[in-house]
């Protein structure tokens, strides 16, 4: 099982920015309906890309600093990082195929 890792503001640099693998960050909150719909899709993607892409979740209720630093104004937002750089983003609930496109772009 490759479940997305819960990451806090304090862990963000070590787990995301310094990660040797590309990282998909799922910004979410428990009360956000669309976020809860994205979650199972992100879990499936975490399985499919196991070993190639790292998947983390940031609960914006508890970790607003990171969300604000990256200018998040809407959740769910998925950000993709590669070598510490932001390389892509998807705002709002989107079908799995679109999330795969975002990830594939970073892998090639």
């Amino acid at each position: 099982m490759a479940k997305p890792l819960d990451v806090s503001d304090a862990q963000f640099e070590a787990e995301v920015l310094k990660s040797p693998l590309p990282v998909l960050v799922d910004f979410w909150a428990p009360w956000c309906g669309p976020c809860r719909m994205v979650a199972p899709i992100v879990e499936e993607l975490a399985e499919e890309y196991h070993g190639r892409v790292k998947f983390v979740k940031v609960n914006t209720d508890e970790n607003l600093d990171t969300a604000m630093r990256y200018g998040i104004r809407s959740i769910p937002t998925l950000l993709l990082f590669k070598d510490g750089q932001l390389v892509g983003s998807v705002i709002g609930f989107r079908p799995k195929s679109e999330l795969k496109k975002l990830i594939e772009k970073a892998l090639h």
């Binding site: 909150a29 009360w31 956000c32 309906g33 669309p34 976020c35 809860r36 719909m37 914006t60 209720d61 607003l64 969300a67 604000m68 200018g71 998040i72 104004r73 809407s74 959740i75 769910p76 937002t77 705002i91 709002g92 609930f93 079908p95």
Partner: protein
């Protein structure tokens, strides 16, 4: 290989889920097709307090409970988008991009989509301060001044929710009074963080990286002004999601499907329920009622036309 069902339900909001519960309990092989989020509009609603018997629940949780209940009786749910409906005597075919669903009866419960303002800046700044879901996004504007556009239940309810975070919430409404229910109006007028800008429309949303303000025009005096806000939450009504059925069955001028009291459309074996139909009251409770009525009518139709 097309998949064959007794009943295909298109749309996973309250109407579709209620239809699914009844169809599945009727032991009809039933699939519900949902292109986005289960619950539809209510998935974005922070709290529902007018569904009889439930004092307060989040829309998402209510939809999930409806889903679990229907699935426990055998309802199948596929996350795909219906693109077309066509007749293949004596059945109906619901087509997605790469699949076909054969059905003896079809229940259309595709609901409604929110209207956009259609002003410059709106599309570019969506997700960057322009939002159609205050419940999702209000938290990102702590102690900021924000605007809510609209005067109905959704606008006022979401505006009230936004006051949990924002320093100030301006309600911009094109008329001189609200359409929202009285109880919401009372709460809004009593809330010191809420301020009302009457007879006014948004003509542009301004911002580079994110929203910096809105240009306004008073529809009575014609006077133009600029209001600096960090977010614009837009709740200006809905339109039925019937584009994929255009020309196939009778609709009213607004695109709502015409039905009779049994939710029967002009097409045999095709029913419509919830916000997608003409003269809907557009409440969770009435949508549920529509869905149930449609499922019972579909059951009767199948029994008459497909005696096993």
């Amino acid at each position: 290989m097309p998949q064959q069902y007794d009943i295909v339900i298109v749309g996973g909001g309250p109407a579709g889920l209620a239809a699914g519960l009844y169809a599945a309990r009727g032991r009809r092989r039933t699939v519900l097709l949902e292109r986005g989020v289960i619950g539809g509009q209510i998935a974005l609603t922070a709290s529902i307090e007018n569904y009889p018997g439930i004092e307060n629940i989040s829309g998402f949780d209510l939809a999930q409970a409806m889903l679990r209940q229907a699935e426990s009786y055998g309802l199948e749910v596929h996350y795909v988008e219906a693109k077309a409906l066509e007749r293949r005597e004596p059945l109906w075919v619901v087509r997605t991009d790469d699949q076909e669903y054969l059905a003896r009866a079809v229940i259309i419960a595709t609901g409604a989509e929110y209207n956009r303002l259609g002003v410059p800046g709106e599309e570019e700044l969506t997700g960057r301060g322009v939002s159609y879901c205050a419940t999702c996004d209000a938290a990102f504007f702590p102690d900021q001044e924000v605007a809510v556009v609209g005067g109905g239940d959704a606008a006022i309810d979401e505006g009230l929710f936004t006051t949990r975070y924002a320093a100030k919430v301006y309600v911009i409404h094109r008329r001189d009074k609200l359409r929202a229910s009285r109880i919401l109006q009372e709460r809004a007028f009593a809330n010191p963080k809420m301020s009302f800008i009457w007879n006014t429309v948004v003509t542009e949303i301004v911002g580079q990286e994110s929203v910096e303000g809105v240009r306004l025009r008073n529809v009575v005096t014609g006077q133009e002004s600029f209001l600096p806000v960090k977010a614009v939450f837009i709740f200006i009504g809905h339109r039925p999601a019937t584009g994929w059925l255009q020309g196939l069955l009778p609709m009213d001028n607004g695109g709502h499907i015409v039905v009779n009291a049994w939710m029967e459309t002009a097409l045999p074996g095709v029913f419509a329920a919830g916000d997608v139909r003409q003269h809907a009251a557009r409440q969770v409770a009435t949508s549920v009622g529509d869905g149930v009525t449609a499922a019972i009518a579909a059951e009767r139709y199948i029994s008459e036309h497909f005696p096993d």
